[in-house]
């Protein structure tokens, strides 16, 4: 790896470790190899959002050309959010694309992602299904996002009805995550979800 990238990450690493957000357990970064090219990030769901109480793990890949180009970041933890793919974890966020600036750091990236969880931008979606639900039925969206936070990110349990519907599909032989995706995509309408799964 280019020297400047590795040196930069090394310095940043110290910065993040010492930052007050780490002290408050809001963000975390871990090295995954000695060459500073792969890291694991962690952010907690912001309070008063559907992600509250959850911990979200991120894959961070540092390119050779860092910090002249942004790190490649995606969610490892499955999440229901208009700007994050519920399938791949890919993120639609301007600073990870054309609004990146060389003075930004891993800390600013993690804080921006946390801000994205507080304020979705459904008009610039990464996941069209989630964005549509967000715009058309915000309560349904909130419930679904909370449910995903509970199941995948260790957030509080909220809705037994969701669990029951998933169980009914699982009993019919559907894989659990697939059942959750189908129900989430069809506003928890079990008939339409079943129709889609078996068509």
């Amino acid at each position: 790896m280019a020297n400047i990238a590795a040196q930069r990450i090394r310095r940043e690493f110290k910065e993040v470790i010492k930052s007050e957000e780490v002290a408050k357990c809001a963000i975390k970064v871990e090295l995954l190899n000695d060459s500073y090219t792969e890291l694991k990030g962690e952010i907690t769901g912001p309070p008063d959002t559907a992600y509250e109480g959850g911990t979200f793990v991120l894959e961070i890949k540092v390119p050779e050309t860092y910090p002249f180009n942004p790190p490649k970041v995606r969610f490892i933890t499955k999440i229901w959010h208009p700007n994050i793919s519920s399938v791949t974890g890919a993120i639609c966020l301007d600073i990870l694309k054309d609004q990146w600036a060389a003075a930004m750091t891993l800390r600013t990236v993690l804080l921006s992602l946390q801000a994205l969880l507080s304020a979705a931008e459904p008009d610039d979606p990464q996941d069209a299904v989630v964005a549509k639900q967000f715009k058309e039925n915000i309560e349904m969206f909130q419930m679904t996002a909370r449910h995903w936070t509970n199941v995948y990110a260790g957030g509080p349990h909220v809705n037994k009805e969701c669990d029951d519907k998933i169980k009914r599909l699982v009993d019919m032989g559907v894989e659990e995550h697939q059942a959750r995706v189908a129900l989430s995509s069809y506003n928890w309408d079990i008939e339409r979800a079943t129709e889609q799964l078996f068509s």
Binding site: R11, E15, Q99, A101
Partner: protein, 144 residues
């Protein structure tokens, strides 16, 4: 007719010159008050070569200032590049960045570019902002 062009800051097309479509779109959006920020979101072009060549070098006097790109602290007596926004960088840190895009990595202060379309577009953007402000002042004076 010349006055009209002058007032708008436009230039009539000369013989055989093709219209600049990007600029026309910018005008269209401005005139319909739907100047869309998302249009400006693709990466801005590199800073102008001559502007970059003429960036002043200064000698660091004192301690505690970091280069925002590599995060290394400048040392006393070191020679660094200074942007018009007063942010200072190592030459090897700022030059590759300005070869990619025209703004300060820390505060996004924009340097001029050698890209005529982009410069025209940027002018329209500034004009649109000014017009918005004018309308607001007019609106406030009418309704307050």
């Amino acid at each position: 007719m010349a006055d009209y062009f002058q007032e708008m800051g436009w230039q009539p097309l000369s013989e055989g010159q093709a219209p600049n479509h990007l600029l026309h779109f910018a005008r269209l959006f401005r005139d319909y008050n739907i100047f869309d920020e998302s249009l400006t979101q693709s990466l801005a072009p590199p800073a102008s070569k001559s502007v970059v060549e003429n960036l002043p070098s200064i000698t660091i006097n004192g301690q505690g200032v970091k280069c925002p790109v590599c995060l290394k602290e400048h040392s006393e007596g070191e020679t660094v590049k200074k942007m018009p926004c007063n942010h200072t960088f190592h030459a090897e840190c700022i030059l590759p960045w300005l070869a990619k895009t025209n703004s300060c990595p820390l505060c996004r202060f924009e340097l001029a570019t050698d890209d005529e379309d982009y410069e025209a577009f940027r002018k329209e953007k500034i004009r649109a902002k000014a017009r918005e402000a004018d309308i607001e002042i007019l609106h406030n004076s009418m309704f307050s």
